[in-house]
Symmetry: C2
DNA sequence: GTATTTTTCTGGTATAGACCAGATTTGAAT
DNA sequence: ATTCAAATCTGGTCTATACCAGAAAAATAC
């Protein structure tokens, strides 16, 4: 005997998903409040939230903390094998990028920086933290660790645009090799707040180690993307 | 005035996460039942489930439907830029791969197959469905569509191993170009059941279009990975 | 008109309880 | 000893209710 009953929370999920897919709910539209949905579908608010969280995990809707639930915009294509900057990539897909500097400091290298960047513990390292937005919506925060030996005074230059370009034009540094890692991870409370997301929400954690033409590690970047923003897309030639 | 109280569900999350990270709970260990955790931490079962689902979304634990919660094994590194087969990749990381054929059929090409594979609607296409396991745990199901014109009789050959190798050795087909896409998506009820996961659970959806030396599309692969299995890892040379 | 306070609305956390379906274990019948 | 049925345990779904903190809107004071 098979279980055939479709749970209420999946019915609401399907109902909303259908409206989103057929376009009667456009990106960034606010959904009715949880209490309104509860009344409209005559189910408990807990069940409503189960449906909403399901849709959130699928990337169909997102929430602004204590403000409401909204329809997600389409994902941004990202090709890790191409070194296209965030700004260029977003613009190329007809959308509007933005960068906000959260902080820029010179710090003493920690043990972790020592291991990942081969900088002596206590030696100076630049830490740049930025938030980046697409069409006005915060989509990632990044922590960029840079070796100041290779680019002294970097923090006094404009940092809203592509770092890679600045490194090339101002310091003659050409990134020749990049090591990328990514997997889902939870956001800690600081970054969650900066993305206006509940603490612990899943994100796509992406690290990028960039090496110059002499194989020095120039930059170690940690990116915390909202989990529903990216679609990884790439072409590989099997030589 | 800032909100400082740490919610109960996050405390339980942290408590379990700590035990997992420090190794006092080993991979594939069964956690106490939800009702036992509820009693042990003196909180409501709903709150316990909130913590467990949080850990699940982080990939630290997984569940076998109606059987319990278990500690997740480490992620498998996967480099999409290298064409290493599943079997080889799993073995290279000291783990035991397994493949189960779910079905193999010759079908009439659908509209969707026509668009993705450039095969006339109604013309034959091979569909191979496999489940793959690591250390006895189902981690993905895949739907492989193959153009039979390029490899007649393929379905009568052994299909448990690397398809790419079979295509090369039996038909002289060399995959020269691959287009890969991936993003999180929900599992439909069929695949969810095949992975012993609740319907709608998030997975990593990965598609792979493989072209031969004459740029014919040989194979279109849809892979549904458990969301907590992979860590994408790659090195890019910026020529 | 503008600033400030108050109220209302929103989602976030939490409790207590209930019943279901499937997996597992127990116990009884053979 | 083996088979089969019953009891138990597990997670899955759902209701009703409560209070909190922060965001937004409305009302008030200046």
């Amino acid at each position: 005997m098979k279980y055939l009953h479709i749970p209420y929370y999946l019915r609401l999920r399907d109902s909303l998903a259908k409206k989103i897919e057929e376009g009667s709910l456009l990106p960034h539209t606010k959904l009715p409040s949880e209490r309104d949905l509860k009344d409209a579908y005559d189910i408990n608010r807990v069940t409503v939230r189960q449906a909403l969280m399901q849709l959130e995990s699928e990337g169909l809707i997102y929430r602004l903390i204590r403000r409401g639930w909204y329809v997600s915009p389409p994902r941004l294509f990202y090709d890790p094998t191409k070194s296209v900057s965030f700004m260029d990539n977003v613009r190329a897909q007809g959308r509007v990028p933005e960068t906000v500097i959260l902080s820029k400091t010179e710090m003493a290298a920690s043990d972790w920086v020592n291991r990942t960047m081969d900088i002596a513990v206590g030696a100076p390292v630049y830490l740049l933290r930025r938030r980046r937005l697409i069409d006005g919506r915060a989509v990632l925060v990044e922590h960029i660790n840079v070796n100041p030996v290779l680019c002294p005074g970097l923090l006094d230059l404009p940092l809203e645009c592509s770092l890679t370009e600045t490194l090339k034009e101002q310091y003659g540094i050409k990134i020749s090799r990049t090591v990328i890692n990514m997997y889902p991870a939870p956001l800690d409370s600081t970054q969650a707040e900066e993305l206006q997301v509940v603490a612990g929400a899943p994100c796509l954690y992406l690290t990028r180690a960039s090496y110059d033409q002499h194989d020095n590690i120039v930059e170690f970047d940690q990116e915390f993307w909202r989990h529903d923003v990216l679609e990884i897309s790439m072409e590989v030639n099997n030589a």
